[in-house]
C-alpha cells in the first residue's frame, strides 16, 4: 500500500485588515504600527450622550477648533505602538538606572560643593511639578482627542512625564539622603517663592484649556520648547563645567527624551497646519499667544539661573522655538 503524502499550498486569503487595506490603497502587508493605529477609535453610532458633556457625543470632533479631512493623516515618525514604546523606554531606563546607581555608590551628590547642591535643588526639583502638569495635560488629550494617531502618542507622553517627574524626585532624594526634605522645600518654593509663581500660574492656566489641540500646542510645543532647552540644554552644560557633571548623568534621560519629542510634536503640528489656511491661522494665533505667556512665566526662573544673561538666554530659547514654529508652517 502506498501512502500518498498530500501537500497543500498554504496561501493567505488576505494580507491585512480591510480598513487598513482601504487606507493603503490595496490589500498588501501592513506594518505593526499601521495595524495597531489606523481607525482604532469608534467614530459613529454612539449610544448615549455623556453626562459630563451633554451637548457633545462621547467622542466629538468639535472638542477642537482644528479641522481635518482625515485625522489619520497624522503619522508618528517614531511609529510607536505599545511594544516598541516600552522597549525603547526600557533601554533608556536601564542607562538611567546605571547612572543613578553610580552616583549613589560613589556618593557623588553628597560630595558636591554645598552651593552647587543648593542650586541644583532650587532649580531642578520644583520642576517635578511642571512635569506633573504635563502629565495631566497629555492625559487630557488622550482622553478627549480625536483619533488614535495623536491620542496614542500623547498616552506615551503622559507616562513619560510621570517618569521624568520621578527621576527629578530621585535626584532630590539622592541629595538629601532619602529624608525627602529637599522635596518638601521644593514644594514650598513651588507654592510660595515669587520666582516660581508665574510658572505655576502658567501651568494652572494650561490645565484649564478646553481645546485639546490648543493644549497640545501650549504644552508639548511651546512650554517644553522653551523650558527644556533652557534647563536641560544649557543649565546641565553649565553645571558640568562647575563640577556638577553628575547632574548631566542624572538628567540624560530628559535630554534624549526631548530630542525625540521635537520630532513627533513638530510632525503633528506641521500636518495640521498644512491641512488648511484656517488651521494654519488658528495654530499660529495659539502659538503666538502661548509663546508670549510662556516667556513671561519663565523670566524669573531664567533670572535665577542665568542672572544677567537671563534675557539673552530667553531670546535664544525663544529663537529655537521660533525656528520650529516656522518649519512647521506657522506664521509667527
Amino acid at each position: 500500500m502506498s501512502v500518498e503524502i498530500r501537500t497543500a499550498a498554504i496561501e493567505p486569503v488576505r494580507q491585512t485588515f480591510s480598513h487598513v487595506a482601504r487606507r493603503l490603497g490595496a490589500d498588501k502587508p501592513a506594518s505593526r504600527y499601521q495595524e495597531a493605529t489606523l481607525d482604532l477609535q469608534s467614530e459613529c453610532n454612539f449610544h448615549y450622550r455623556p453626562l459630563w458633556d451633554p451637548e457633545r457625543e462621547l467622542y466629538d470632533k468639535r472638542r477642537t477648533a482644528i479641522e481635518m479631512k482625515d485625522w489619520y493623516a497624522f503619522k508618528d515618525p517614531r511609529q510607536f505602538y505599545y511594544g516598541t514604546y516600552v522597549l525603547n523606554r526600557a533601554k533608556l531606563q536601564d542607562t538611567a538606572e546605571s547612572n543613578f546607581d553610580f552616583v549613589e555608590r560613589h556618593g557623588a551628590l553628597a560630595s558636591l560643593p554645598r552651593g552647587l547642591a543648593r542650586r541644583i535643588k532650587a532649580i531642578l526639583l520644583p520642576l517635578r511639578h511642571v512635569e506633573y502638569g504635563a502629565n495631566l495635560n497629555n492625559c487630557y488629550i488622550s482622553a478627549y482627542g480625536w483619533g488614535t494617531a495623536i491620542t496614542a502618542a500623547t498616552t506615551f507622553a503622559m507616562m513619560d512625564r510621570l517618569g521624568i517627574a520621578q527621576y527629578l524626585s530621585r535626584i532630590g532624594l539622592l541629595i538629601d539622603g532619602n529624608t525627602g526634605e529637599s522635596l518638601v522645600v521644593a514644594k514650598d518654593s513651588w507654592m510660595n517663592d515669587p520666582v516660581w509663581q508665574p510658572l505655576r500660574k502658567l501651568v494652572e492656566d494650561n490645565l484649564v484649556i478646553k481645546d485639546w489641540f490648543e493644549l497640545f500646542l501650549a504644552q508639548n510645543l511651546v512650554l517644553d520648547g522653551m523650558l527644556y532647552p533652557m534647563i536641560y540644554g544649557r543649565f546641565g552644560g553649565e553645571l558640568s563645567q562647575s563640577g556638577g557633571s553628575v547632574v548631566a548623568m542624572l538628567t540624560e534621560f530628559m535630554d534624549t527624551w526631548y530630542a525625540e519629542e521635537i520630532r513627533w510634536v513638530d510632525a503633528f503640528v506641521k500636518t495640521a497646519a498644512a491641512e488648511s489656511a484656517e488651521n494654519k491661522d488658528r495654530l499660529s494665533t495659539w502659538a503666538r499667544e502661548a509663546t508670549a505667556r510662556t516667556r513671561d512665566a519663565l523670566a524669573p526662573l531664567a533670572k535665577l539661573i542665568y542672572l544677567d544673561e537671563a534675557r539673552a538666554v530667553l531670546d535664544d530659547v525663544g529663537a529655537q522655538l521660533q525656528a520650529r514654529l516656522v518649519k512647521a508652517g506657522l506664521s509667527v
Binding site: R14, R49, A110, P113
Partner: protein, 525 residues
C-alpha cells in the same frame, strides 16, 4: 568658601512604600490661580463625597522605571511567540477550523472595547483629583492600549487565513450583536468618573474579568492556540494590577463617607447585571464553540463568581454592601444561558460575522453530562431538529429580526428565572413609548435612568428605520433585498457569515490539513 561639602551622612534606606510615596504623593498641589473645581470639574456631580484623596492606598507601587522594565520583558516574550506563530503557520495547529470562530468573536467583540477602556481610563486619570488614583488610572489606560494593540497583532495572523474579522472596527460599530459590548462600555464612559471606575474597575475587572480570561485562555491552550494563550496570560498580569485598582477604589470610596454606600450599591447592582449579560457570549464560547472543552459555563460561573465573588462580598459586608441584586437568577440560569445564546446565533448565522454550526452528537453528550437537569429535556430536541433539517438540505436560517432589550441590547432570548419554558419579557412605559427588556435587572436599570437608555442606538430598530444601508442605497428599487443591503452596510464578504459547514473556512481548513470532508477523527463538537 571654606566648608564646601554637604554632610555625607549615610542615606537611610527607604521602604518600597516610603520611596513610592516620595516619588508620587507630593507631585500634586492645591491650585490657587485656577480654582480646584475648574481644574477637576467632574468630582462632585455624582453625589460622591471625597474628604481626603490622600487616603488612597497604592497596593502595587510601580514606578515608571519599573513599569517600562517589566512590561518590556513581557513584550519581548510575547512578540517572540507571535513571530514564531506567524513564521510557522501556527494557526494550523488549532484543534479544528471551528475553533477560529472564538477568535473572530474576540477580535470583533472584545478588542475594540479594550481600546474604549484605554480612553476611559485616560478620562479617569485626568478627572480624579488625587495623585494616587490618577496614576493608577493612567497606568491602566496605557495597559489597555497594550491589550488592544497586542490582540490585533496576535490575531492578525488568523485574519490572513480565516474570514469574518477582516473589518473588525467597522463591524463593531454596526453589527447587531456587537452593540452589546459597545453600549456596555459607552454606558460606563458616558457616566461620571466614580460610576465609571466602579463599573469597570470593580464590577468588571474585579468581579467578572476572570470569566473571560481564565476559561477562555485555558480553552485556547487546550485547542492548540498558542498565540492566544500567550497573549492572554501576558495580559492577565496587567489585569492583576487592574483588579487591585478595582478593589482599592471600592474600599476608598466606601471609607470616605457613609453617604457613598447606597450610591455605590446601586452602581454595583447595575454593573453586575450589565456585565453578566455581556458574558452571555462567553457562556456559548465555553459550551459550544471550543472543540476541546475545558469546563462548562456553569462550572466557570460557580468557580469565578459564586465562590470568588462570594468571598469578596463577604469581605465587603463590613461596609454595608451586599451581594448584587438578582445574583441568584444567574445561578438559576447557569444551566440554560449558553444554550439560549447558541441557539440564537445558530438561527442568525446569516447575519453573524462568524460561522456557527449545529453541535455534534459528541458535543451534545458532553452537554448532557455537564447539564443533567436541563440539556436533554429542553435543548437537545431543538438541536436534533436543526440537525434533521440540515440533513434534508433545509438548514434553518431565521430571516426575521429579534426585539432587543433596551438596556443590554441582547435579543429577548432568555427564559424566566424560574421557568425554562417561558421567554422572559419585561416592559416599561416612558413618555408615551413602550420599552422592552430581557429581565428584571435590565428593567430596573432603565427605570432608574430612562433619559439615558432611550437614546440607545438599537441595531434592529436602526435597520427598520432605514439607517443601516450604505449611502446611495435605493430601497424602492425593484429587486431591493433589505437583508443583503444591511450585510453590505456591515461590510460582510463571502464566507464571513453562514454555517461553518460548507463555508470557505471549512474548505480551506480541510485543504490545508489534508483532510477529507466529514473525517470523523477530526470532527470537533
Amino acid at each position: 568658601m571654606t566648608d564646601n561639602t554637604t554632610t555625607a551622612a549615610a542615606p537611610r534606606k527607604l521602604s518600597l512604600k516610603a520611596k513610592y510615596a516620595q516619588l508620587t504623593r507630593g507631585l500634586g498641589w492645591e491650585t490657587t490661580y485656577q480654582s480646584p473645581d475648574k481644574v477637576f470639574p467632574q468630582t462632585r456631580f455624582e453625589g460622591i463625597k471625597i474628604h481626603d484623596w490622600d487616603k488612597w492606598e497604592d497596593p502595587f507601587r510601580l514606578t515608571m522605571d519599573a513599569y517600562w522594565k517589566y512590561q518590556a520583558e513581557k513584550e519581548k516574550k510575547l512578540y517572540a511567540i507571535i513571530d514564531a506563530f506567524q513564521q510557522n503557520n501556527g494557526h494550523l495547529n488549532v484543534s479544528d477550523g471551528r475553533y477560529v470562530n472564538t477568535v473572530k468573536l474576540f477580535l470583533t467583540g472584545i478588542s475594540p472595547e479594550e481600546y474604549s477602556a484605554h480612553r476611559m481610563f485616560a478620562m479617569l486619570g485626568r478627572n480624579f483629583a488625587g495623585v494616587g488614583p490618577q496614576i493608577a488610572a493612567q497606568m491602566q489606560s496605557i495597559d489597555e492600549l497594550r491589550h488592544a494593540q497586542t490582540q490585533i497583532h496576535t490575531i492578525s495572523q488568523y485574519n490572513k487565513y480565516f474570514n469574518g474579522m477582516h473589518d473588525f472596527r467597522h463591524m463593531h460599530d454596526r453589527v447587531w450583536y456587537m452593540s452589546v459590548p459597545k453600549s456596555y462600555f459607552e454606558d460606563a464612559m458616558t457616566a461620571g468618573p466614580f460610576e465609571g471606575i466602579v463599573a469597570i474597575s470593580f464590577s468588571f475587572e474585579y468581579v467578572l474579568t476572570n470569566l473571560i480570561f481564565m476559561p477562555f485562555m485555558s480553552a485556547a491552550a487546550y485547542n492548540g492556540d498558542m498565540a492566544t494563550v500567550t497573549f492572554g496570560f501576558s495580559a492577565q498580569s496587567d489585569e492583576s494590577r487592574h483588579m487591585t485598582l478595582g478593589i482599592e477604589c471600592i474600599k476608598f470610596l466606601l471609607e470616605q463617607d457613609p453617604d457613598n454606600v447606597p450610591i455605590i450599591q446601586r452602581w454595583i447592582d447595575k454593573w453586575f447585571w450589565r456585565g453578566y449579560r455581556l458574558l452571555t457570549l462567553v457562556s456559548m464560547m465555553l459550551d459550544f464553540m471550543v472543540p476541546k472543552k475545558v469546563m462548562s459555563w456553569k462550572e466557570a460561573w460557580n468557580m469565578y463568581f459564586v465562590e470568588n465573588g462570594g468571598a469578596l462580598f463577604k469581605d465587603l459586608e463590613r461596609y454595608g454592601l451586599r451581594m448584587p441584586k438578582y445574583w441568584e437568577q444567574t445561578v438559576a440560569a447557569a444551566d440554560r444561558l449558553s444554550c439560549e445564546a447558541w441557539t440564537t446565533f445558530y438561527n442568525y448565522a446569516a447575519a453573524a460575522n462568524f460561522n456557527p454550526w449545529c453541535p455534534t452528537e459528541e458535543g451534545m453528550d458532553w452537554m448532557s453530562q455537564k447539564y443533567p437537569q436541563t440539556f436533554d429535556r429542553y435543548y437537545r430536541p431543538r438541536f436534533e431538529h436543526f440537525r434533521d433539517l440540515e440533513r434534508q438540505g433545509k438548514r434553518f436560517y431565521n430571516t426575521s429580526l429579534p426585539m432587543l432589550c433596551q438596556t443590554c441590547q441582547v435579543p429577548l432570548i432568555f427564559s424566566e428565572p424560574d421557568d425554562p419554558t417561558q421567554t422572559c419579557y419585561r416592559e416599561s412605559d416612558y413618555n408615551g413609548m413602550k420599552y422592552h427588556f430581557c429581565s428584571d435587572g435590565c428593567k430596573d436599570i432603565f427605570d432608574h435612568e430612562p433619559e439615558k437608555y432611550v437614546q440607545a442606538w438599537l441595531p434592529v430598530h436602526q435597520i427598520y428605520q432605514g439607517n443601516c444601508f450604505k449611502p446611495g442605497t435605493d430601497p424602492t428599487a425593484k429587486d431591493f433585498n433589505p437583508l443583503a443591503a444591511v450585510l453590505d452596510y456591515y461590510h460582510f464578504g463571502p464566507g464571513d457569515n453562514m454555517d461553518y459547514v460548507g463555508s470557505p473556512d471549512e474548505a480551506n481548513w480541510l485543504k490545508w490539513k489534508g483532510l477529507a470532508k466529514g473525517d470523523p477523527a477530526k470532527m470537533a463538537s
